[in-house]
Amino acid sequence: MSDDRETPLRTNGPIQMVRDVGRKLSQGEAGPLLVLLMVAAIWTFFQFQNDRFLSPGNLTNLMLQQAAVATISIGVVLILLLGEIDLSVGAVSGLCASVMAVLIVNRGVQPVLAVVIALGLGAIIGLFNGFMITRFRIPSFVVTLAGSLAWVGLQLYVLGQTGTINLGDNFVTALTNTFFPPLIGWAVAVLAIALTLGFALLGRAHRRAAGLQVGALRGLIFRIAVIGAAFVALVFVMNQDRGLPLVVVIVFALALAFAYLTERTRFGRHMFAVGGNAEAARRAGIKIDHVRIMVFMLGSTLAAAGGVLAASRLLAVNQSSGASDLLLMAIAGPVIAGTSLFGGRGTVWSALLGAVVIGSIANGMNLLALASSVKFIVTGAVLITAVTIESVTRGRRNSGAIE
């Protein structure tokens, strides 16, 4: 067949490989690599400032702290892919967690059922957002900004006089307070690596059997090696402390599921199309309003899930659950890690990577006992830098089309 067509994976030796990486960097498409470098730089910096930073205990805390943010960020990524924004994810997470806590503690509802109700409430709020945005053509930032005020008010109402509800010991608190024994941790790591490698090789064999070009095996092995090393390091470090946390596995599973949805299914493909060129998507027969409504529902449901995890970590819900800088962190993370604010570009994994970057900065600054003022300024500066880089490289990417 067409031998003159090359696949993007094809490389002609190390020089070509380096050149490819350079090109991708300058076009803002080497997301994961760039972010890993950023994480390495941040970790090195804080480790020099305080040698407790890279201790297993602190890294485990970092994971536990960021699980909620990462979950909310997965939903934010879905919405950003459409070129929309949801400024109510923080408030929704707080409201849904509060409803859950009231149901469990004051009404004696089964914790599992209360979690399901909280997620359902998130979905309904998302349905409302999507309906307002598609039916009345109100910009999403207006709908969700107004909504966030209302949801905060509703949260205060639901929590009532006391303002704080302690969750006690149950299914919800177990989510972030369960750790796997070392052997199970290793088993998870081995399974994850085996599955990654297995699917990659299977896909490759499938392409080859179909007569399509396949990338160099070296490239694939390199990627699997990097991913595998990350898994091994993660489990190794976690095992030094309390063990692999259940919540890390949950967040990974969520990310995997939504990565599958966005990258492998027709619905995900249509999300990218709506974010890239909504009119083109409409003319291709895609029901773009359905896609929008569904995605806002998923976004709010994930916000509710994040709220549940945050409550689990705090062992309680209070009036400031979902408030403070949670919204900012949940949106800033994926953007720093390469998801475009302008729609159509990004990956679910940027939610996880972004949560690690933002969390590392916040955690490191906490260890250094910096003032809140400094923390806010630094986080803001990092965000604006990331958005600027994205904006500049986006311009370069588009100008590539002109001959």
Partner: protein
């Protein structure tokens, strides 16, 4: 070529199509017809109503009045899906491609293939099958300029993008293809490639409607020329035996002598 006898119904016929944007009458009682294996050029000044007519046929922008006949039968086109179902494909002036998706994804947008077997339940897109038939399609159209079908469309040149848009329109095996200004943004060699592609479409027996400002291109590909002026059908020409001046006169509305092949409509 298309010997349209008066009795045999044309592939696609429009009768008395009108469309107003508020007080702006974009189309006034326009008739239109295209036959299989025929290239009809739709020409006219800016704002003459060419795009509006094409959008009405494509179902993306409904007209106020008018009847549509497909193979002689009256049909209703009230959505892009209706047009697609009839076998009418459209390549829009603005191409309507997603720059953030690769060539394969754009070709199959809205009609992605699923894998068969158990993974079908997981709504898994069959990338392999899509890439295979994308390569076959581009080969069959002799499109050699697109070297990597996994490249994002935003990275392609104007001619490559046009080729993707045209190839995309052919995936549904249409019988009519509408092309709105397919060469407007292209350089000389890219224009050649697109005109070549239009010839290929006609050879395949498709009815092709091409909107163009460029009379040189029109004369290179068209069998018939239909002139719109101020929302009305002003004239129809057979390209054989008509001069460029005649067409220009019809477009601008200037007085002109009766030339060969001319049939001026009473507008």
């Amino acid at each position: 070529m298309s010997a349209t006898t008066p009795t045999a119904p044309a592939l696609l016929t429009l009768k008395s199509v009108s469309k107003a944007f508020g007080a702006n009458q974009a189309l006034t009682s326009v008739d239109f017809e295209v036959d299989a294996g025929e290239v009809v050029a739709l020409v006219g000044d800016n704002g003459a109503g060419k795009s509006t007519l094409v959008k009405a046929i494509a179902g993306v922008q409904l007209c106020d009045e008018g009847a549509f006949y497909f193979r002689g039968e009256m049909v209703k086109i009230s959505s892009p899906q209706d047009a697609t179902a009839l076998g009418i494909a459209t390549v829009y002036q603005d191409l309507a491609l997603c720059d953030n998706l690769d060539v394969v994804a754009n070709l199959y947008l809205g009609r992605e293939l699923f894998t068969r077997g158990p993974s079908r339940a997981a709504y898994l897109i069959d990338e392999t099958a899509m890439e295979q038939s994308a390569l076959e399609l581009l080969d069959s159209l002799a499109v050699t300029t697109i070297r990597n079908v996994r490249e994002h469309v935003g990275m392609l040149s104007g001619g490559q993008r046009q080729a993707v848009a045209i190839a995309r329109s052919l995936l549904g095996e249409p019988s009519v293809v509408l092309l709105d200004e397919p060469t407007a943004a292209l350089g000389v060699s890219q224009t050649e490639q697109v005109l070549e592609l239009i010839h290929t479409l006609r050879q395949r027996g498709l009815g092709v409607v091409v909107i163009s400002h460029n009379l040189e291109n029109v004369f290179a590909v068209a069998d018939r020329i239909i002139v719109l002026r101020l929302g009305r059908r002003a004239a129809t020409f057979d390209v054989r035996g008509v001069s460029r001046e005649d067409v220009v006169s019809a477009i601008t509305g200037a007085e002109f002598g009766v030339g060969a092949g001319l049939s001026k409509e009473s507008a």
